[in-house]
Assembly symmetry: C2
Homo-oligomer: 414 residues x 2
């Protein structure tokens, strides 16, 4: 395969490098980078699209912006003519948890699996062209394996290797039981790559072990090994934890336009470049420019966030909804006149402080619990933006304006 690179024309080589830079942008790791380049080269030479795989949990979640990171990456491949293979892991879903211990793994019926897959198709359709996507159910091939096939599959891996997986090794260390059947989940995911002859598999960094299993199994079954692209996990609105529904720090793709935009405006400045790279569908050039301008100060963080928010709302609700969301935001938040007589106080303590502590320190409210309640009721604003995260930690900058309720304002200087 090494020769692929040498056979490329100058034009093809440039195209290969362009695609590679696009796919590599924003990712956490490519295993191995050279093989990805070779695969792109081969695809150009043979005019054969690459098969890019993503495995899906069959228990259909409400998709949020955190999930779209991998979809944006798939979109880049799709826009360059490659084939997206979405695999619904319905085989595990249909089995459920044979030990009956995991409530999360409840047994799904065929109808539930189909329904869940349909919700994926609908939601993913906002990012990907689903007409061109291959949708597979892995029960199609996994249910055909007999005991002998399973023994051959199991013969491809050692127990020690499986115990290297983070959650397994932690459970062994802490004495928590691992049921033997759990060892098969990564093997199933890997076997999917064998059957579908995937060239590339995408996954979050938390999928490191599972997606590498595909490489190992393809080798065992004497197929060409897939390259693996690991994507970072996107932080939620708090800028700290991974975006997730359970943490409440998410932007759902079903959020109403105004909420989606407002939430986007509340992300901390530090994560703006990551949101640009991972969650928008700006082209690579634009992403670079935005990040540069942001860094140099030519672009105000607020304006960057407006662009990201517009991008999100356009993607999930259309251009018209996006324009109206921007308008609404400016009306309600930006254009709202501040009182002229805001009291000012000088902050002399450490600038990093949880928002609820700050409110109590400034004697704006008598207790942290009241501060939390007020946040929950949407009554706290920071520089005109509603605070939604009760455990938000802020870094106080000069002229920070904090608003409690309708009328209580305070300006902090350093």
């Amino acid at each position: 395969m090494n020769t692929s690179m040498e056979q490329l024309s100058a034009f093809q080589r440039k195209e290969m490098e362009r695609q590679y830079a696009l796919y590599a942008n924003g990712v956490n790791e490519i295993i191995p980078a050279l093989e990805l380049k070779q695969k792109i080269a081969k695809s150009l030479l043979k005019k054969k699209p690459l098969k890019v795989k993503l495995g899906l949990d069959p228990s259909a979640p409400d998709v949020h912006i955190g999930h779209t990171v991998v979809l944006q990456k798939l979109k880049q491949f799709q826009q360059n003519g490659h084939i997206i293979q979405l695999i619904v892991g319905d085989f595990t879903g249909k089995i459920g948890d044979p030990t009956g211990k995991s409530a999360a793994r409840k047994q799904l019926t065929d109808e539930e699996v189909k329904h869940n897959a349909q919700t994926y198709v609908e939601q993913f359709g906002k990012v990907l062209d689903m007409k061109k996507v291959e949708l597979h159910y892995n029960s199609q091939w996994l249910r055909l394996l007999n005991f002998e096939d399973v023994i051959r599959l199991a013969g491809s891996i050692t127990v020690a290797r499986l115990l290297e997986r983070n959650d397994f090794s932690q459970r062994i260390t802490t004495g928590k039981p691992i049921s033997l059947h759990e060892f098969f989940y990564p093997l199933m995911q890997g076997y999917d790559s064998v059957v579908l002859e995937s060239d590339i598999e995408l996954g979050g960094t938390d999928q490191h072990f599972n997606v590498l299993m595909g490489r190992q199994l393809q080798e065992h079954y004497q197929k060409e090994k897939q390259a693996v692209i690991l994507l970072p996990l996107l932080e939620g609105l708090d800028g700290v934890d991974k975006m997730s529904k359970s943490k409440g720090n998410y932007i759902g793709i079903h959020d109403k336009p105004n909420d989606m935009f407002g939430k986007t405006m509340s992300i901390p400045d530090e994560v703006i470049p990551k949101y640009i790279d991972l969650a928008t569908d700006f082209d690579l050039e634009k992403k670079k420019l935005l990040k540069e301008d942001l860094k140099s100060g030519r672009l105000h963080p607020r304006d960057a966030k407006i662009m990201i928010g517009e991008n999100f709302v356009t993607m999930f609700h259309g251009r018209k909804a996006s324009e109206s969301a921007v308008h609404h935001f400016q009306q309600v938040f930006q254009n709202r006149k501040l009182p002229e007589d805001i009291p000012t106080m000088v902050w002399q303590k450490a600038p990093k402080i949880p928002i609820v502590d700050l409110i109590v320190e400034l004697e704006l409210l008598p207790s942290k619990s009241e501060a939390r309640k007020m946040i929950q009721n949407g009554g706290i604003k920071l520089n005109g933006e509603k605070v939604v995260n009760k455990s938000l930690e802020i870094e106080i900058k000069n002229d920070t304006i904090i608003q409690v309720g309708k009328r209580k304002f305070l300006k902090i200087t350093l």
Copy 2:
């Protein structure tokens, strides 16, 4: 099931106790003893035979007296009307070793499996009434399991439990790889008990983990749990190591009558009671008497060995061959006159010594390698019995006579 015991008539209770004592004689462990009693009780009450299982490796060995220990135990069950289930583990045999690393697990064809099973039938027929034995091939049910069934099977056990098995834990400790498929061998054996609803499984002490797996799986599949009888491993002619073909310390059931008898005469006195209990088919009463008389000195060890040897030869070659073997032995060994002028020397070193060291110490031969060669050629005798084991360690007793070749004799006194 507890009530079974209470429902027994006085006569049935006595019969239950008689059978239990018979089955428990000579064994290493019964897990659990109470359940075995309850099973016998239930069988008497319901007039339903027990199903007694033995798993067989499909790579057909030449059966030796060491293997017959478990057959003798099965024979006791058979003589009391219970059903013997022999399971040829042909499923594993047909798969071989998917990693290709274990030369021992070569893939067998259907013909080889059938042929090997036939040799079992022929050989076991010397001990058991094969017409009444159930012969099963576990590929019959194991090949029908699909991936989902295997997941359910694997869900019955934890990785930690599997790693408790001696050879697995040793390999983890020493960093030697365990391929995942190996975890399934004990599960397959256990699943056989589920399918066959075995009441009892027999195995050597080295099968402790595997036979207990049957209990665990039966419970998982909501069947009545089998009781387990673990039998000691019989020492070979050296009285030290487990009898095995590779060690050369075995009495094969295909050995010619005179060899079989002669080898039996060469076992060390210490293991005579174990041979009586485990390898002969004397009834329980006779076994007890022989052991008592041996202990009290009423029975000379040599005479006990003659009885054991007669029993073996009768079992495997018939009564006539047995009589002729005894006659031959007495002719050649016992009746042979010793020279009157045997030189005597007093032994002052430690009495336990390997035979080859002793020969060199006594300057009967110039080197250990010559001593070994002489043993190989059948030229060394100890108290008139041919030494066959080159690594035999002996305990020198007063008046031990050692003979090298035809004419060299030495008497050792302490």
